[in-house]
């Protein structure tokens, strides 16, 4: 902002110090007032802390306060005020929303999956996009390993077995399959994929991967196609972005290549997997087991999976810890404040 540049350094009299402080106070006060009138649309009830802070710092609009049928009207009525959208994995900023908000300047995505943000439309309109990388990495990778172990060792089903009295009545639970030492194939070796690899290595698991391009800085075995990856690993973890190219990338062929002893773990997006094929494969025994955090039509999960003991079904909890949710919310707030203050954005997509 150039409030105090080097040429003033020889003139540090009390009057100039007072002037400097006055200018700083004015600048801070100006930013605060700018923030209070800065309209932010929260697309979904993502997190109570985030909602409370957005309400406290900005002029908050809650999209869910209008019924879905009247959303367009709601957006039109508030279009003059809304300059930012905070989106979630469930509801982001699609082309229609962006077009209804002529004063939109920035979209802040709660998460790293950007499939619900129309990035091309944002770029065309000059709308900035920010997201929450790094802070989500650990939780997502932890859950991926947790799902792999739970699926192979049947932790959830044995919990049910014990709690419904079967241990006393029917004897010991059956033998299960070990995770340690199995080859883990990672689809997408970004931050999350690398974190999954590091954890799996601690269990003696050899690591291989498929990615858009080979990563020179790792010694993991690279496969140029997901089919080859599936044929050469026992546990396949999906950790890549959802794009047109990766939609249904886990199809029947890949599932069959993974095979009756194979395990699929999805901490990416539901549409990465052809869900109908997955359900059939699990029922038929063509796939050994699966640990699923995401589904094609959340919050709906195919009921045909409910009776299976070789699948773990969790409701998109990849980053759902108190610690990480707060970290993500703080990062969103930091980005929005930086934008209003005309400072560099901490975590831009562009």
């Amino acid at each position: 902002m150039g409030v105090m540049d080097g040429s003033d350094s020889d003139n540090r009299s009390p009057l100039n110090l007072g002037g400097y402080l006055a200018i700083q106070w004015t600048a801070v006060h100006w930013v605060e007032r700018a923030m209070e009138s800065f309209g932010v649309l929260l697309a979904a009830r993502i997190d109570p802390y985030l909602e409370a802070e957005l309400d406290r710092r900005f002029k908050l609009f809650r999209l869910w306060e209008s019924p879905p049928a009247q959303r367009r009207e709601f957006l039109r009525e508030n279009a003059e005020a809304i300059r930012a959208v905070v989106g979630s994995p469930a509801l982001g900023a699609d082309a229609e929303m962006i077009d209804l908000l002529p004063r939109l300047e920035i979209v802040a995505n709660f998460g790293v999956g950007l499939d619900k943000v129309d990035l091309r439309r944002c770029r065309d309109r000059g709308v900035r996009v920010v997201y929450t990388p790094d802070v989500v990495t650990d939780d997502t990778a932890d859950l991926a390993i947790g799902l792999a172990i739970a699926a192979m060792r049947r932790i959830c089903d044995s919990d049910r077995y014990l709690k419904d009295g079967s241990w006393k009545g029917k004897g010991d639970y059956k033998l299960t399959s070990k995770f340690s030492g199995k080859t883990v194939g990672i689809l997408g070796l970004g931050r999350i994929g690398q974190a999954v690899a590091k954890r799996a290595e601690g269990f003696g698991c050899p690591i291989c991967y498929c990615s858009r391009s080979e990563k020179r800085h790792t010694s993991y075995k690279y496969y140029p196609s997901v089919l080859e990856l599936a044929a050469n690993c026992q546990v396949l973890v999906v950790a890549c972005p959802l794009t047109e190219e990766t939609r249904h990338i886990i199809n029947r062929e890949v599932i069959d290549a993974l095979g009756p002893k194979g395990v699929l773990v999805n901490v990416g997006r539901g549409p990465h997997v052809d869900e109908c094929e997955l359900v059939s494969a699990l029922h038929d025994g063509r796939l050994g087991a699966a640990g699923l955090d995401v589904f094609e039509h959340e919050p709906h999960v195919p009921e045909r999976l409910f009776g299976l003991d070789n699948v773990i079904l969790v409701p998109h909890i990849g980053t759902d810890t108190l610690e990480t949710s707060k970290a993500m919310a703080d990062l969103i707030l930091e980005n929005l404040e930086a934008h209003v203050s005309n400072r560099p954005l901490p975590t831009p997509v562009f």
């Binding site: 859950l143 947790g146 014990l162 299960t176 399959s177 409910f306 810890t321 610690e323």
Partner: protein, 339 residues
């Protein structure tokens, strides 16, 4: 230092009883084992199977087991003085477990009976299971899986938040083979590791605490992976649970009686402890029913060791120990009795 002379480690089998000509040696079983083990044993040994007999157990032993020299124990069946009295020729016991608290080792030593166990072959299976239990408890995997299967996700919305594993301070009670493998794995998740053990281990990079209470006071998570002995019975008592605190998690893959189970149930019911992952219980297969409806508690039927991969390794180890005994060779995984 050890109660048995060295010759007993080699399990003196110089008598040729039980191995006349081409007859297979006799091995007594107390319970039906897993079928893969049963088949492997049947092919190599003459098995005495009291459960197949219509006569009561005592009479079976008196009639058939007077000369038996080897006993294979499965399912943690207790081996005590009265049983040993009924087996006067017994010279060797091998158990399919790593833990040996179900065997009266002092009585065995007194009678010159060598004991072997499963050594450390289960360590990786148990270690991975302990990590799986911890992630499940912290991230509510089983609880939210139930939530989904009950159809609640569309009706009741998102599941409540769990707790992050990284940066948790994990205190391991018993840094033996299993404890070390657990520590190594959890480090990769960003946990800090401390431990309590019979003695400090200078070669490990983890912080040592001289008492479990001190360990609990500095930990968010306690993982129990030590043997059950007189000293460690109820080592996790009310004071330790209070020191761990209301957000603390207990993971038990050791033995149920390491924990004062009644106190644990009380603490969980009153919200004075954050959660638990339990593979073992004081009076298996009985499990306190108060735990059944708790979403912060994950339970399993003592099967951290029961993997398909381990079952064939276990068979090989049991057979190798029996063969060693019958051939006067050193046992592969002898249990040494401390005096």
């Amino acid at each position: 230092m050890f109660g048995l002379p060295r010759s007993h480690l080699m399990a003196s089998g110089s008598e040729s009883q039980g191995r006349r000509g081409t007859e297979r040696p006799q091995v007594l079983l107390l319970r039906r084992p897993l079928s893969v083990l049963h088949e492997a044993l049947s092919a190599r040994f003459q098995l005495l199977r009291p459960w197949e007999s219509p006569v009561p157990f005592d009479r079976f032993l008196a009639a058939h087991a007077a000369g038996v020299r080897a006993l294979l124990v499965t399912g943690l069946t207790p081996v005590d003085g009265p049983l040993l009295d009924a087996l006067p020729a017994l010279r060797f016991i091998v158990t399919t477990s790593s833990g040996v608290n179900h065997i009266d080792l002092a009585e065995c030593a007194r009678r010159g009976i060598a004991v072997a166990n499963a050594g450390t072959i289960f360590s990786l299976d148990v270690a991975e299971y302990a990590v799986g239990l911890l992630i499940d408890v912290l991230r509510r995997v089983s609880a939210s899986d139930r939530y989904v299967r009950r159809g609640l996700w569309p009706r009741a919305g998102d599941y409540p938040l769990g707790s992050k594993l990284g940066s948790k301070r994990v205190g391991i009670v018993g840094l033996g083979s299993i404890g070390s493998e657990i520590a190594k794995r959890l480090e990769a998740f960003g946990c800090s590791i401390s431990y309590f053990s019979r003695s400090r281990k200078p070669q490990v990079p983890y912080t040592y605490f001289p008492s479990v209470g001190d360990l609990a006071a500095e930990s968010n998570v306690l993982v129990l992976s030590c043997a059950l002995t007189k000293e460690t019975y109820h080592i996790i008592n009310r004071d330790v649970m209070s020191a761990l605190g209301k957000d603390g998690i207990i993971i038990n893959v050791g033995r149920g009686a390491l924990v004062d189970e009644a106190e644990l149930v009380k603490h969980l019911m009153q919200g004075e402890i954050g959660g638990a992952g339990l593979d073992v219980f004081e009076h298996e297969p009985a499990v306190p029913e108060e735990l059944f409806c708790m979403d912060n508690v994950v339970l399993s039927a003592h099967f951290a060791v029961h993997t398909l991969e381990m079952s064939s390794e276990l068979c090989q180890l049991m057979i190798a120990n029996l063969n060693a005994f019958f051939s006067d060779r050193p046992l592969l995984t002898p249990v040494l009795v401390r005096t």
